[in-house]
Symmetry: C2
Subunit: 345 residues, 2 copies
């Protein structure tokens, strides 16, 4: 099969790779119909050290079940399925608490011997717990929106859920990437009436407006903080959904959160140490939450809205490429010529 | 009157000071019957730069209303009252949300021209919102327990409330000072059945056991972390109540919190930057919360249990001194010869 590997910063290659095979009786093999490139794939694209062994890329995909291990129940060949960006058994204590990203038998695509989703096929461990049957065919117009359930929609939703967004909470969303825009959509779904989107790419913030943002703040840094505070009577918003991951975004979050409020991070932090002492989080009783989204936990909740067409999270895709053009897709997202690139193997 | 001032690290003096007078129509003057020394008073006791102007000390007191400003309703001369460690109008939007420490007209004792509680009398701003009437007299045996409602009991309770402790959550409390012990008591009140207390002073951890701790871990650092993990099937506890404030305590909290769990800090952080990135908080979806406790918000909830004798938080006091002996009280707490010192002016 053909599959995508990264050999170092900026070095993405689509190459021949062995077809995946069942290794455990709990595995399935999925033939991939749609995949995509994630904003988080751009982090290694910027800083992965060069290596002779390529890293399998991609963690968002849907497709057909092609083979099933002997211990996989509830799935059959030919099922059209999607997979969350973390595989999980969906039965352990952490999964039962909705924290599939900490599943005792779980893990992530592309690491520890796992393949990536930007490929023609993939071996899925813990297939029974991981894969979710889709009641549509591969010709469905809903594929882009369904594909967002594998990561970016669930991740935006996780930000909003962890922040306990509700009709009484004001919200700032930091970042106009796919996750930021879907954090806006999620906050709106949870009832928020005031949603300030901090982003400066007009074609993206326009989608943000359509998803529910009431105010757009293109300024950044201290200027952006002051603008949000002006918009909120000087105090900031009850919740801040941080969908970027850079220290500058964290600093903006601290600057615009209301005393007693919540900063919910879903952008992969590109820092380890940060201010959390008296003057930043402690004094004003700020709560800091978030992490990798257990998107599996949210699919049952979010899928009906997608199937009924009540929401259209797939609008974040603005380009589709074939598998061999994946390196171009990375380039386009890195240059911000594309918001999110879908891959059609 | 006589009042306590700190002139630098280790330099506590009880001196003559002008009697407090009403300055605003919203003020009251309180003649202090009991005050105390707080673990947080030991931070300046360790590191306050020497100065020719002393800082008024003490933020926990109860006493009699002696004078009332013209705009103070609901109080009269002779009322026996207590004051939270933050004064507040109890009517602004933050107070209504239970965040009295961020009150728009509020502040703290001993700063910004305010007097301290380790004194014979004090001017109380926002008296109507700040002072709480007590249905007992100055000869009541409940005074020590009532005095804890001004800070340490409410602070321990804040840690537990912010962490959402309930009968299903396992709890680690870090620190066997007065706040740590009252965090144990609070966690038990909120229904926790498994409470691990990390502390190594046996006479204190014994009180912790009586307050509800089920396990005592005297080890610290990595050894302490491993011990708590052993006690919890390798995963740590759902909630960690951090009642110390040093970086070493934060690191222990990160080490013993369960994936998806909550670290709730009420020890005044003696650091500004700390690890919060992928390997500490983000990857395992840890929530960090806490801050200065809005104890005013909890008094209505906690007072009945004290009055009915269901709880006895006043057990944290193990020494009483007269006002002129306050410097000895600081010394005794600093040397850990006393857990918490009550002051009887």
């Amino acid at each position: 099969m053909r599959a995508t590997f990264m050999y170092g910063a900026g070095d993405v290659r689509v190459e021949d790779a062995p077809d995946p095979v069942l290794e455990q009786p709990t595995d399935a093999i999925v033939r991939i119909v749609r995949a995509c490139i994630c904003g988080s794939d751009l982090h290694p694209y910027h800083n992965l050290p060069a290596s002779t062994g390529g890293a399998p890329m991609g963690h968002e995909f849907l497709g057909f079940v092609e083979e099933i291990g002997s211990e996989v129940a509830g799935l059959k060949r030919g099922d059209f399925v999607l997979a969350p960006f973390a595989y999980a058994d969906n039965t352990c204590d952490f999964c039962c608490e909705g924290l599939h990203t900490s599943c005792r038998k779980g893990g992530f695509w592309g690491v520890g011997g796992m393949g990536g989703g930007q490929a023609e096929a993939i071996r899925v461990p813990q297939a029974q717990g991981t894969l979710v049957n889709l009641p549509v065919g591969e010709d469905s117009a809903l594929l882009p929106s369904l594909l967002t359930l594998t990561d970016v929609y669930g991740t935006g939703y996780h930000a909003a859920k962890r922040a306990k967004v509700n009709p009484r909470t004001t919200v700032t969303v930091i970042g106009d990437g796919a996750v930021g825009l879907l954090a806006v959509l999620s906050a709106r779904q949870l009832g928020a009436e005031r949603i300030i989107l901090m982003g400066r790419h007009e074609e993206r913030t326009q989608i943000g407006r359509e998803f529910g943002a009431t105010d757009i703040v293109p300024e950044r840094g201290q200027e952006g903080i002051e603008r949000v505070r002006e918009l909120t009577g000087g105090v900031g918003t009850h919740t801040v959904l941080e969908a970027v991951g850079y220290m500058s975004a964290y600093e903006m979050a601290v600057g615009v959160v209301r005393p007693g409020g919540v900063i919910s991070r879903v952008g992969m932090p590109q820092y380890e140490e940060a201010p959390i002492g008296f003057t930043s989080l402690f004094g004003p009783n700020i709560t800091l939450t978030g992490g990798p989204a257990p998107v599996r936990a949210y699919i049952d909740e979010l899928l009906p809205g997608v199937l009924e067409g009540k929401v259209e999270p797939g609008r974040v895709f603005d380009r589709t490429v074939g598998l061999d053009m994946v390196p171009d897709g990375y380039r386009a997202m890195d240059r911000r010529e594309a918001l999110k690139v879908m891959v059609q193997p």
